[in-house]
């Protein structure tokens, strides 16, 4: 079947890109000036024997190709190596910290999709002063980096008003939701503005098309026309921003988790960078790129379902 072949082909492409990304990530770490061993021994003047032991333990003395393929082979078995700072398996670290990041990203994603779509739809349907107000608000939102939003929200709602905790992750699901609300809003703000504007302009474009007039001429109520035709047809355009939304969410978790002290992989990435814990940095980078590509693949696969006119072409890039 066409759809299956398309999916498999995109899957193969994704695997190749992921391989290339892994090479870039590993190569960047390899080229880094200063050995992790120095950091491990944290400046202590270690005996050559101790240095060699460390080098052997972390395979720092082998040639590049050997180390790359060993790393790759271990990856395929779900083994991300050992963290130099935490002295445990990176996969354990990831497993501990991934849930809060995923929850944070999911909460932000829900906010972005719901609020962004609703705002964009209202702006397009109402027009006039409502439209202008939403446009000005979203212009500001689009100019607000997530860390600025994080610091401001923290200052207002946590420190001044005490409505929300100022940081941390919390224990148990409900507490986690509670702690992650402000970070999720901070993470979502920019993207809400972006999605609202994309939705609005896509809907305004559809509004000018004749089939909308035709539907009205056939007595379909305006509200239904807005939903069934205008909004529905705008969704295809909105969906193409899916990859950008998720990649922005993933990268900005680093900033927002640091600002709020959320114990997710974003904060872990920041900590590992300051401590030059390369195995962890590699693992997190690769996880982020992998998640990002998986979302792009999902968007590609979903697009023909949203828009039957889209041929199942191998790639989406316009000429």
């Amino acid at each position: 079947m066409n759809f299956l072949r398309f999916g498999l082909r995109r899957l193969a492409e994704m695997a190749l890109t992921l391989l290339a990304a892994s090479f870039v990530i590993f190569g960047a770490m390899y080229l880094a000036p200063g050995s992790p061993a120095d950091f491990l021994l944290s400046g202590r003047s270690a005996s050559p024997a101790a240095l060699e032991a460390v080098n052997r333990q972390y395979h720092l003395d082998e040639p590049f190709a050997v180390r790359y393929f060993r790393w790759l082979g271990q990856l395929l078995h779900g083994d991300f190596g050992r963290s130099i700072t935490y002295r445990t398996d990176v996969s354990r670290l990831l497993a501990d910290r991934l849930p809060s990041t995923l929850l944070l990203v999911a909460m932000a994603l829900v906010l972005v999709v719901v609020v962004g779509l609703v705002l964009g739809r209202i702006a397009a349907v109402r027009g006039g002063a409502v439209d202008a107000t939403i446009l000005v608000t979203t212009t500001l939102a689009v100019g607000t980096p997530s860390f600025v939003a994080a610091v401001m929200l923290q200052g207002l709602f946590a420190v001044r008003l005490h409505w929300f905790p100022a940081g941390g992750t919390g224990d148990g699901f409900v507490q986690m939701l509670w702690h992650l609300t402000l970070p999720a809003v901070a993470l979502a703000l920019y993207l809400i503005g972006m999605l609202a504007r994309v939705t609005r302009s896509a809907m305004v474009e559809v509004l000018g098309q004749e089939h909308v007039t035709v539907a009205l001429s056939r007595g379909v109520p305006r509200r239904k026309v807005m939903g069934r035709h205008v909004f529905r047809n705008a969704l295809g355009t909105v969906l193409t921003t899916g990859g950008l939304i998720v990649s922005t969410l993933l990268v900005c978790t680093v900033l927002v988790e640091s600002a709020f002290g959320v114990g997710g992989i974003g904060q872990l990435l920041e900590l590992s960078i300051t401590t030059k814990d390369f195995p962890t940095v590699q693992a997190i980078s690769l996880t982020m790129v992998g998640l990002f590509m998986a979302v792009n693949l999902a968007v590609d696969l979903a697009h023909p379902l949203v828009d039957p006119r889209i041929a199942l072409a191998p790639r989406r890039s316009p000429a």
């Binding site: 004749e210 007039t213 056939r218 069934r228 035709h229 047809n233 828009d307 039957p308």
Partner: protein, 346 residues
Amino acid sequence: MNTRDRHGSSAPADSVTASPVLDIRGLRLRLPRTARPVLDGVDLTVAAGETVALVGESGSGKTLTSRSVLRLLPPGATAEGVVEVAGEDVLAMNAVRLRALRTGTAAMIFQDPRAAINPLRRIGDFLTESLRLNTGTPAEEAERRAGEMLVAVGLTPAALRRHPGQLSGGMLQRVMIAAALMGEPALLLADEATTALDVTTQAEVVALLGDLRDRFGTGLLFVTHDLGLAATISDRVYVMYAGRIVETGPADVLFARPRHPYTAALLAATPRLDAPRGRLNAIDGQPPDLRAELRGCPFAPRCVHATALCTEEAPEDRVFTDGPGGPAHRVACHHSDRVRQGADHG
């Protein structure tokens, strides 16, 4: 909704004399930032089972006239006058009645079916949506009716599952017609319904519309710039220029003996197979600009018969009856006696 049973065997000839399904009286439409009304006192009637053609150049106001029957007015437009469909004034309706009118009593077939049907939804959804959403017709019943209508326009019910992109332009225009028939309309408005189609498909669609009119006794207002087409299919013709009806009469009479210089000029500019080959006579000049006020006859600047009177005073309708008891032939021209068929223009 109109519940009249039109599936009976009412012969179209009888219904011509019945009360009109469409009666436009003194329709005047103004758009923002224009100096004169785009529609200036339009009078037009369509009887049940009758085919009426509304012809004119692009920009003459024929599309606006047909759209105002469904109150599809451009933003900011103000309308005066009366547009009665099946005895009810469209311009005075509340939102609920208006939707009922659009779902049932009157339906429009648009020029470009490719643009008129949402490409993302299935044909079945397009056909049934207005019934399902407005009259609460159950989905299966609406679907069954849609299937019947598709058969009536020469397609198969299998098309219900298709997306518009999978059908040809001619097939889509049939779908458009089927959609217009879904609410059992008393009045069909065809707005350049065949212009976007190739010639063979055009002939098929015209034949289909004629068939359906006979079968369902629907009144048909056919908006077109194609005089040949208007002559073949219509009972009566209205000729429109600069937002006014300049001439109206039975199709055979009007085309055989046009009494308005504009109609005569239009006819002279139409290629004919039965006439000797020669240069076509284009009409010199441009239609009047909407941003300028109009005094006198709007066609005067382009008219070969124009006199001082024409630029001063707008002509009143003159009525000619060709033979005793024949239908009226109305002309808005000071010099209609001087117009001889075709020959005198250019």
